[in-house]
Amino acid sequence: MDKKKLQVWIYYITPSYILGIVIGENIKISLSSIIIFLSILSIIIIFCSFYDGRFIKYLIIALFLIIGIFIINLTQTEMSQSILLKLSEEKSYVKVEGNICSRPHFFKNSVSFFLQVKYIDFNGKRYKLNDRTQITLFHNNENPNNDLLDNYKKLNSKDDLKDSIFLGNSIAISGRLNKIEREISKGFSWEKYLYHNKIQTKLVADVSKIEDISIHILSRIRKYVVYKAEKLFKERIDSKHSTFLIGAVLGDRSEISPETIEHFTKSGLLHLLAISGQNMVLIASIIIFFYRIFKLSFFKRIFITIIMIVSYTYLVGYEASVLRASITTLLTMLALILGRKKDPFALLSTSALFLTFWDPFSIYDVGFQLSFLSVAGIFLISPIIMKLFNNKKNLLTNTFSITFSVQLAIAPITLYHFKQFSIVSILSNFLALPVSSLILSLGMICVWLSLIFEKMIHPLLWVLDKATGYLFLISEFCSKIPYGQLYYSKFSIYLVVVYFFFMIISLYFLIKTNVEQKVKTKFVLSLIALLILLVFTYQFLLSLPPKNLSITFFNIGNGDACLVRTPEGHDILIDGGPEGKNIVKKLHLKGVKKLNLVILSHPHSDHIGGLIEVLNEIPVNLVLVGSLDLSECDHSLIDKYNSFLEIIRNKNINIKCIKSKDILNISSKLSLFSIWPDPDKISFLKSNLNNQSLVFLLRYANKRILFTGDVEIEAQKEILNDFKNLSINADILKVPHQGSKDANFYPFLKAVLPKISIISVGLHNKHNHPSDEIIKSLKKINCPIFRTDKMGDINLIAINNNWKISKER
């Protein structure tokens, strides 16, 4: 018998299959491409097998590469032939029926979820199909006599939507199908995310269009379990802590406050909010703990573990990271049944293969990527870190090596997806790992016990509350450590590849070669030193002021936000856009550490919202506002403005009110010339807050930039009257009021005569900004228009007498 060379086939199968998927998504299958591809492939196979004589190995690699390409193309073809897609192109009115297959998101006036469509009624005919669509239902919960909910209540005899719209439910809705346009762009986009979830269409309707709701027994059980645990958590535990626990243990993150998410993101503990492998490992250890007490037999043990894992996976909904973890655990059980030793890396590859075979698009899922990388990091890197400690195993070194290697493995992917990486995560995870295990296992025990003996777990809940409190302390403390975050806006996919390439080479050197351990230790230490040096150099370089005057108009949806940076190191922010658009992160990505001047044009929420976040996070020297007459504004706006002033007072920030024709010298080169509002004239414009916007000219050397806030035609007329003799001519004009037609006043535009005009506006906004009229007027004065909705963040750099314009996504 010839000596068979053993191989770990799965190490070749999974990577080549995934590579096939990636290649397959980017090439179109045609006869010529198949022939070219196959011939290249066969040449490579022949060459490689000639080189080391292992023909089968390369054949297997090639085979799975082709299978990957084939599968992804099959999926894409299937999706392109989707009936829903065809109907959506004609915006047909249909009735869809199916199961809710994502956790619904409840907003103030709407609820949104994915529907696995089983039947569709169209033109009186009923078709059976298997497809997905996104559903958005509008309701008006705040209005007690709203007729939208009437029909729903009749159907359901329940008042709250949350009682019947949940994961796993089946529902029938009629409405108009719309196609979701997919941008072909690099980087993350919502549309791409939907496409990778096999969603190409959306159906928007109101709640009264729900025709049928029926609840399956299984999802009813799930709802019951979740509801019972939620109730118990909410009763016994601090509300902030209980929302966290519901997220961490039951996978429902919808009620966690944005503040908590922010703290956990910054401290690098966000993964605790998601169900992950940690939960599954803990389930297994809880069962081991119980079987030691009850002396369960081997097969009962395995049986119970499998039941627990499967039911838990069902309970929390099947996200990629959960599926990864449960498949791995199930495979471990299989290894026990077969009497094989499990190989962690083979397990990981096998579960990746199963997952991608089930849904090839799951490789684009961030949870999938992070989950696999972190586990691979633990298996591959942490033994190397342990060697640095001379393999002394204790809680301290173990925790450190695990957290460090996980962070090392996921850093590039985190930077690629979120442009932000928490350096303190190494510290925070180190502090949090022991307590998080306690919280998760106690939490899961409580969920199960709550079904049987409710009263008995009260002491457990007390412990849980205290432990969660400690975790919150850690995350809050770590999120406030200065320089704890690494921001990098241009982390491209190529950098990710380069990073992993170097990592694989270093790992190969450290694991496979027989170099002395001393040399290896030196190598690892110098690598770590290099990495730290790189990070700090980058942080330092980023904080340096730009060489030339740089102005950035941020794409923050419908609203304004503009950053001006001078070579002298002055950073100025004009408005902050609406709330929750990550203006703070965008500033960090620009390397802004402090702001010399913050200017609020007027207190509408699309200008002030983000500024409140900025004031809370970034040190500010001076805030500039115009004089305002708020006598005719509604209370929520005044409240917001007051809270804005409150923060300024509490933080001891200087505030200044300027009126027209004031001049503020910021540095020798930089000055601000105020144009509007004139306090004597605003009283008759008080009915429209937009007309009280601060208008000013920013002058840097010979450059002039005009910021106009939201001023409309009336105020523009007044300005022209005032400035008959004074020039308001500017190089750059921020077009007033997102280019609304109410702000289109040709004489004003002509007086300014800008070389460049910027429209800061959100994509698909409901006001239809910018208006065609203003675009026509700007074209009349031959002024090029740059729009944030089309370009993303617009960056202008003054070089000599020209402006260099670039876009950043």
Binding site: L6, V8, G339, R340
Partner: protein, 235 residues
Amino acid sequence: MIRILKSLIDIFFPPKCVICSKLNENFLCDDCIRNISVTGNYVCQFCGKPTIRSVNKCLECKDEKLYFTKARSFGIYEGVLKDVIAEYKYKNVRALTKLLTQLLYITLQKYYRDISFDSIEYIPMTKRSKSFRGFNQSELLAKELGKITELSVNGFLIKTKNTKKQMSLSLSERRKNLIGVFDFVGSKENCRGDILLIDDVYTTGYTVSECSKVLLNNGANDIYVLTLARSLLIQ
């Protein structure tokens, strides 16, 4: 069919050495086998303990009343062999059975070549511990060895009481701990001649001795003990 199934399993659970993770069909690579300290030529002629020169009875067994005729082990219960047995017994790597039986067979050839056995017997476990572990390692080894040597494996012994772990007791307690816990359930006609008794680890010899006693009382002539490892912890 079984071969296809096996190669399918090999894809997902690659056969690797349990000690050093190198690929190996037998789940223990040749390098690691070489690291096992095998019992040499000089052993106690009675209990099989490795000695400096050949003796008929060593210090350890000369004052003991042990019922078997001879005992021999493959290697010393330390290092690699200890780890392998731990993997096998506690981590449930039953795939090691084949290789470990091979090791037993080598020992059988080495020490008991002249003896023609009538049957093979193994140390039993109580029902409860067997179901807890899922298998009886001595039984698996004995059955596999039965296939190689074409001898019948009897399994006439049962363990009736759950005893404390031998490791946790002092020397004097160990003997008492085992008195009367083994029982005979088979037919006496088949229990005759020379019997090969299989166990995984030999420490004091009390366990195999008790089993030998039961077998002798039920008609066996001579009991030869064969174990994988010989513990040297007790001097």
